[in-house]
């Protein structure tokens, strides 16, 4: 092409290490160094690795999309088996465990949280992303437990927000994990949160930005624009935004188009919706794409490979 694909940028995206193998003090089969890019994704100088695909699972399936429950059947009632299958059958790079059990009314069984984390850790050798409580009243205990249960494993803990980051930060600091910093589709709020985290003592190489991902057709373009700007700022040298990004278009499986699709095509519709949002997010710069439908995993991974090699980007190789 002859043009400078670095566009005169001086910055680079920092990297975050996820997972620890035995030699690194953990028990994972593999660990990843996420980030490190110096230009936009899928260009020549981009890091050798493709975006990673995480499969999202949970420990209390009543809070999970019906479509996944239908597709996976009894598997969703056994979080260990679900994790194992995600690795061996679905081919995920990472597992993101949502501790949905904490969403039950007046939840107080904190040891259960630790148990779930430990079970999933022993059921899979993949690095883990853990989503703790989303109830401020129990944050402190839940994140403490998550951090402790995963000590040495370099988890990625989620999700810190501007008004609510102290417990996650504390768990990350105390047990050497990384954290997801989420801001509502706003570059300045993303930066502000990163600064707040830095002030509390979190190292930059322990933070991943979650720009908040709207579902395709339901605001994704705003997310895309925010991500683009975050990435441009980072490449232009803004260190407070130079973190890798993680995206989860979390509502993809519950939107009207998927819910109301003909039963025969429902899975296909769901996968398509997750796939195109995930692909677009990767193009905007996300290093980790999270999905919930098992069939989306392989399709995204194929697409990323083909983007690298220049073949059909829809993944239909």
């Amino acid at each position: 092409m002859g043009s400078d694909i670095r566009f005169g940028w001086t910055g680079a995206i920092g990297s975050v290490i996820l997972g620890a193998t035995r030699s690194e003090g953990g028990t994972r089969k593999i660990s990843y160094r996420v980030g490190g890019g110096t230009t936009l994704p899928f260009l020549d100088h981009a890091p050798a690795s493709s975006p990673l695909v995480a499969l999202e699972i949970c420990d209390e399936p009543q809070y999970w999309p019906q479509i996944v429950r239908n597709y996976c059947g009894d598997l969703v009632d056994d979080v260990s088996a679900w994790a194992t299958t995600a690795e061996t059958v679905y081919g995920a790079d990472l597992i993101r465990l949502y501790l949905t059990s904490t969403r039950q009314r007046n939840f107080s069984d904190i040891p259960l949280v630790g148990k779930a984390v430990e079970e999933v850790l022993s059921a899979t050798g993949l690095p883990l992303i853990i989503e703790g409580s989303n109830e401020p009243g129990i944050d402190s205990e839940v994140f403490q437990k998550c951090g402790e249960a995963g000590e040495g494993e370099r988890l990625l803990l989620g999700t810190a927000e501007a008004g609510r980051y102290r417990s996650i930060a504390a768990a990350a600091l105390a047990y050497n994990h990384s954290i997801i910093a989420q801001s509502p589709i706003d570059i300045n709020l993303a930066k502000q949160l990163n600064i707040l985290l830095r002030e509390i003592g979190i190292q930059q190489d322990h933070i991943m930005i979650d720009p908040y991902t709207g579902t395709l057709g339901y605001g994704f373009e705003y997310s895309y624009s925010a991500m683009e700007r975050i990435r441009f700022s980072a490449l232009k040298g803004d260190a407070d935004l130079a973190m890798p990004m993680i995206c989860s278009a979390i509502d993809s499986l519950t939107i009207k188009e998927v819910r109301e699709a003909d039963t025969a095509y429902q899975d296909e519709m769901a996968v398509a919706w997750e796939f195109y949002a995930g692909l677009a997010a990767a193009v905007a710069g996300a290093e980790i794409i999270c999905v919930r439908h098992p069939k989306t995993v392989g399709r995204l991974k194929k697409a990323f490979t083909s983007l690298k090699t220049g073949s059909d980007p829809t993944g239909r190789i």
Partner: protein, 676 residues
């Protein structure tokens, strides 16, 4: 009374002697940080006689290091003390403690050391520490004293008995040292960083009962270097130890260290939320009112020194609401006193304006205007629910603390309803108002070296950057230079950042290299140059919130201003909303600038474009609004008669009419240097 100085000297001497006697050292299990204070301060892994001497020497005979080595040696020899004493706390437990600190579920750490003269006082202090979310460590006679008073001890009660003697207090510092290394990223041996962390991050205080040995006094005194305030309950004097009666010890210690308890609920019998802000109280709904010409009323917020006022104290001087007749107008003086270590006198007027918002937050209270022009009403409904004058004070005291947690440590409110006393206090308040006016009036752009940015609007105008100077408020009119400064101090990572002016590039246009650098970065590389005082060359970007648009009219060689409220077509051929749509969104549009109404009155207005004589047209309502001040300004700048030469929509609605009018009026813009 014990003189700390003498005791420290003798204690240091005795520690030094005993350090020589150390033969064998065992250290502690359950930690990766060896003897933590020695390790943090010197980087030396103290494990035997030689390394202990080395560390002691390296740290200039620091009593804490001596005490740490000696206690470790003793523990090695005699074993741990029996329960309830914890002795050295292992890393695993410490990690959890550190977690609660970072997490905010505990606010700080306290060491209570020594032997209380009577048991009750220790119990009171510890209960207060528990209530204020402090994690308290105990060493010495205070432990049996608490047990005798039936106080429960243990981690779950946030009261941790370290050991039976004052010497065990040294564990408090080994805990801080490990928190610094585990959570603060402090490298062992990096003394400066450790001391900085201990002083700035570790929220620790020490409360001292009598009965310490000289050695123990020397150790406690050495903790001052770590930035811990030492609160003495009577027996010790000098060397910066703060003497306090038991009932004030905790408060004083926490204030001295800047540990703040956040206020979450306001104990008053009415709702309090911004949701009620817009609700007015009509005459027939009103129980009593104050001010607005019907009675004397004023408000004043002033700053006091930390310790001079008691947080949350509300005093009513004069009759309460039940002594006031329904439907009557009564005198009222609202006096808010605030204290905080980062509070500054300059902030007073800005904070004072918040009284307006806060009183309106009350479901049954209403407030308009400011200073001695205020008008306050309390509704019948609120009074029926039991709201009294004192509750307005409670509301103010709590809201100030809630909204400015970084700035204010203490807020007390006095409400005067006695006519004579209100009049007397108002006199004092008026002196303060005058002083303030004089101070702010004199503020010029060249008096400061730092301006403030505002990027609040980047949510919808992604590359917009407002630069706010003393003489140029934000284009929305809502944020002055002082507001920007305070907002930055309150929230250092927020949308208002300091902008160093740097070198002056163009005095007429107000262009500075520091401002340019900042704008370039904050606009994500989009805008290279920004002149603060010009509409024509590199004007400031516009978000969408501007009160007015200033734009050039090349046909008449002048500049017109239109405000948001004006709905008609202007001589430019466009309405305000068309103009706003054209220039907003964060773009820089030469010839157009978004400005605040008050900026029209600034000496800097149009400075880069030839001065206020360029002003050819403004809507009549705006003209009327600014009339007195603008006329004064124009005369002051040597342009008598110019005000009448500025057209409005009653004189000209098209560019042709405007040209004709300006020619008739002999407006100076027509003969000035061409704009383009």
């Amino acid at each position: 009374m014990t003189e700390v100085k003498n005791a420290v000297a003798s204690g240091r001497e005795s520690l030094k002697k005993r350090m020589q006697s150390i033969l064998v050292l065992h250290g502690y299990g359950e930690t990766a940080y060896h003897l933590p204070v020695s390790f943090a301060l010197t980087g030396i892994d103290v494990r035997d006689r030689a390394s202990s001497q080395d560390a002691y020497l390296r740290a200039s005979n620091n009593p804490i290091i001596a005490a740490e080595c000696l206690l470790s040696e003793k523990t090695g020899r005699e074993g741990k003390e029996p329960s309830p004493y914890t002795g050295f706390i292992g890393d695993t437990v410490l990690r959890k403690l550190g977690y609660s600190l970072v997490d905010g579920s505990i606010l700080g750490l306290a060491l209570v050391i020594g032997t209380p003269a009577n048991e009750g006082s220790a119990a009171g202090i510890c209960r207060e520490l528990q209530e204020k979310y402090m994690l308290t460590f105990l060493a010495g006679g205070v432990v049996p004293a608490l047990q005798q008073s039936g106080v429960k001890l243990g981690l779950e009660y946030r009261l941790i008995p370290l050991g039976s003697t004052g010497a065990h207090g040294v564990h408090f510092t080994d805990i801080i040292a490990r928190v610094a290394m585990m959570f603060g990223g402090v490298t062992p041996g990096d003394t400066a960083r450790f001391l900085k962390y201990a002083a700035e991050r570790a929220k620790a205080i020490v409360i001292v009962f009598p009965g310490l040995t000289d050695e123990e006094i020397a150790v406690v005194d050495a903790m001052r270097v770590l930035g811990f305030p030492i609160i003495s309950l009577g027996d010790y004097r000098g060397e910066g130890w703060v003497e306090a009666p038991p009932e004030h010890a905790v408060r004083q210690g926490m204030e001295a260290k800047g540990i703040r308890v956040t206020v979450t609920a306001i104990p008053i019998p009415m709702g309090c939320s911004p949701a009620f802000e817009g609700k007015s109280i009509r005459k027939e709904e009103m129980y009593v009112e104050f001010g607005s010409g019907r009675s004397t009323a004023f408000e004043l917020l002033t700053m006091r020194n930390v310790g001079e006022i008691q947080d949350g104290q509300v005093t009513v001087i004069g009759p309460e609401i039940d002594a006031m007749k329904e439907g009557s107008a009564n005198p009222l003086g609202i006096i808010v006193e605030v204290a905080g270590r980062s509070m500054k006198k300059d902030y007073e007027p800005v904070l004072e304006r918040r009284i307006h918002n806060f009183v309106n937050y009350g479901e049954g209270s209403w407030h308009v205007a400011q200073r001695d022009l205020i008008w306050v009403r309390i509704s019948k409904e609120a009074v029926a629910k039991g709201v009294k004058i004192t509750h307005i004070g409670k509301l103010l005291a709590s809201k100030f603390r809630m909204d400015f947690p970084q700035l204010l440590d203490a807020v007390s409110v006095t409400l005067i309803t006695d006519e004579k006393k209100v009049l007397a206090a108002r006199k004092d308040a008026e002196t303060v108002y005058e002083e303030r006016d004089a101070r702010i009036k004199g503020m010029r752009d060249e008096d400061v070296d730092t301006y403030y940015s505002c990027t609040l609007c980047q949510t919808f105008a992604p590359n917009h950057v407002c630069v706010i100077t003393p003489e140029r408020p934000a284009l929305c009119g809502a944020i002055s230079w002082l507001d920007g400064k305070i907002a930055y101090e309150i929230s250092p990572a927020g949308a208002n950042q300091p902008v160093k002016k740097g070198t002056l590039l163009n005095a007429r246009n107000g262009e500075f290299d520091g401002v340019n650098r900042f704008v370039k970065k904050a606009s994500h590389g989009e805008i290279d140059r920004c002149s603060l005082y010009s509409v024509m060359e590199y004007p400031m970007t516009c978000c969408g919130c501007f009160e007015c648009v200033a734009l050039m009219l090349p046909e008449v060689n002048g500049i017109m201003v239109v405000n948001r409220e004006f709905k008609g077509v202007t001589p430019s051929g466009m309405t305000f909303s068309t103009l706003a749509g054209t220039i907003g969104g964060g773009a820089q549009t030469p010839g157009f600038a978004g400005i605040s109404k008050n900026y029209i009155l600034s000496d800097r207005f149009l400075q880069g474009d030839g001065g206020i004589e360029r002003l050819v047209w403004i809507p009549s309502a705006l003209k009327e609004e600014l009339k007195d001040r603008l006329q004064k300004k124009l005369i002051g700048q040597g342009h008598p008669g110019l005000f009448e030469k500025i057209a409005d929509e009653t004189l000209a609605t098209t560019i042709e009419e405007l040209t004709a009018f300006l020619e008739r009026a002999k407006h100076p813009s027509l003969t000035m240097k061409p704009l383009v």
